[in-house]
Symmetry: C2
Subunit: 342 residues, 2 copies
């Protein structure tokens, strides 16, 4: 059986379907009585508007698209959930799509544009947006009046960017290891060769005159298992460091588990820090030292950026918003529970 349409409501209420459409969208020049009548029959019939038809004519779908990497990272889930809440609160739905390599982005963007999303969030972009392979697809989306915001380390003259300074986080945590705890043999455990955040580690090590900057890379998949296994392997061949800065909290949790399996205790034998500040990190045993910006903050800033553009002012110049991060010194680096300053 077919859906109930405005035609059904029109027939039922003895009005034209034009009037029905207007009554339902609360058009000012429709009498109160007809509005009441039409709304009543609409709910009686269990009517809900066909968003496909509506979207086709209005060119707005009340949908925000999100294209991001690392979807299976719990921290990403936290952000997506926060975003969903924001987006729902503003009357939109969130459509999430993932990608592995940047060359998939073009088709993902086109898909989203084909679904006529009103806004588009593209996640974990580093570098100049206009120089990327996906720029043509993104430009088409912009011409189509889609509001776009990228994160977390992009630069652009055309597109708003929400910037999160992972490099500074890595640097600050490394400096904390060095200055507060006096560590000199510190590892950086990254997930791939290109991570930008390792630069912060190198900078801090170099500034402290620590040459022996050892860095070790896991292969892509950034899950806990990989990190646990990797640290186990490493410690069989190399002498232990005093501290390990991990690519993120998930890696850090894997590493702490691996260290425990090897008989090392954190932070007594080896100190550990992560990056992200996932909710669970403060509940872990030992509580994880980390840095990050709260997902609600990120989601809120994104929605703010998006809503400014959704108001159709595509003319105003692109902005870059830099979100300040917090550092959390907890047990895993050797600090006490309290969030003491460096």
């Amino acid at each position: 059986m077919a859906r109930v349409t405005i035609i059904d409501i029109a027939r039922e209420s003895g009005k034209s379907y034009t009037t029905v459409s207007r009554a339902l969208s609360d058009h000012p020049r429709i009498s109160i009585e007809t509005k009441v009548l039409i709304r009543a029959t609409a709910t009686r019939l269990g009517y809900s508007p066909n968003m496909m038809a509506k979207g086709l004519v209005q060119k707005r779908t009340q949908t925000i698209g999100l294209i991001a990497t690392e979807l299976s990272n719990p921290v990403r889930s936290e952000l997506i959930e926060a975003l969903r809440r924001q987006v729902h609160a503003s009357g939109y739905q969130l459509l999430v799509s993932g990608y592995q390599d940047e060359d998939e982005l073009s088709s993902r963007i086109r898909d989203m544009a084909g679904r006529q999303v009103d806004g588009l969030i593209i996640g974990k972009i580093t570098g100049v947006v206009e120089k990327k392979d996906f720029w043509p697809a993104l430009e088409a989306a912009l011409k189509q009046d889609i509001a776009v915001v990228t994160f977390s380390n992009a630069t652009s003259v055309c597109v708003d960017c929400l910037c999160i300074d992972y490099v500074a986080m890595a640097r600050k945590l490394t400096e904390h290891f060095i200055r507060k705890h006096g560590f000199r043999n510190i590892w950086y455990l990254g997930v791939d060769r290109n991570t930008i955040r390792q630069r912060g580690y190198f900078a801090a090590m170099q500034a402290a005159g620590l040459e022996s900057a050892k860095r070790l890379f896991l292969l892509p998949a950034q899950d806990m298992q990989t990190a646990r296994d990797a640290i186990g392997d490493l410690l069989q061949h190399e002498s232990k460091p005093q501290a390990i800065l991990c690519h993120n909290d998930i890696t850090a949790i894997g590493v702490m588990n691996g260290l425990r399996q090897c008989g090392y205790s954190v932070p007594e034998d080896i100190a550990v820090a992560g990056i992200d500040n996932h909710q669970i990190s403060s509940f872990f045993n030992p509580a994880l030292t980390t840095a990050g910006v709260a997902s609600e903050r990120v989601a809120g800033a994104m929605m703010k950026l998006l809503e400014a553009r959704l108001g159709h002012n595509h003319q105003s110049p692109a902005v870059a918003v830099h979100l300040p991060f917090e550092t959390y010194y907890r047990e895993s680096c050797g600090c006490c529970c309290a969030n003491e300053e460096e």
Copy 2:
């Protein structure tokens, strides 16, 4: 500037837009040459089909809707992510929507129906679907040919259900506490008065002749903080139990953190178990004893159920699939690391 449409491609390639449409959808009666020509100009122009228009005429949107509770629970995130992968692999997008109380469900279902989803997954339903307040809305969706599957404890003659036996999990874990470890004073820490899984706890306690079945309820919000604070409060007023079965892994992690703050160690002073088997539970310190079915399993079973219906056989009788669960005896109950049998 406007999007490129099939009209643009038709003009560019000197064909009618009917032919363009057919060439793009690989219609058999279009010559290879025109197909090649048209596809070439389509990609040259950066064409991507308007899914609104397509959806309007075809009544299919390549979208699966998910309506669920507890969206901010990391276990739910894990499931959603697994589902998204499944759904993408089958060529669909996933649209996720949340709800707090069951009376919101009707409007959520109508929203999804209005967005013309091809399939709909409705999460955490307990009881007879046909007796629910949202049944009229769901019935309308079914009449509209939307494939529907519910989880996790529903019964229905019209709708497929994916069943996960949380009661049995609670029972099995409680029995494990009793038989394997000889505990007699066991608490059940639930998140609300109506959770079905507490029944398994009661059953096990009763069967063992343990009358003093103490149960304590947290208020709604089922996050780690609440659980941590609650256990702290409780232990100030009552003498400690030997073991605590928690509503889920997240609650259990909060509880373990709270116990640590109070100076108790797990499992030496108090044993703890959760339910869900979130990825992180096996990495926790101590590793958490828990039970659950892997998210990929659940997602796979859902997609299977859905795809059977998406093939338009709405006639075949509704099925109920019961997913077997696994139990993981780890450190937090006093078992060793190995997954020993009860």
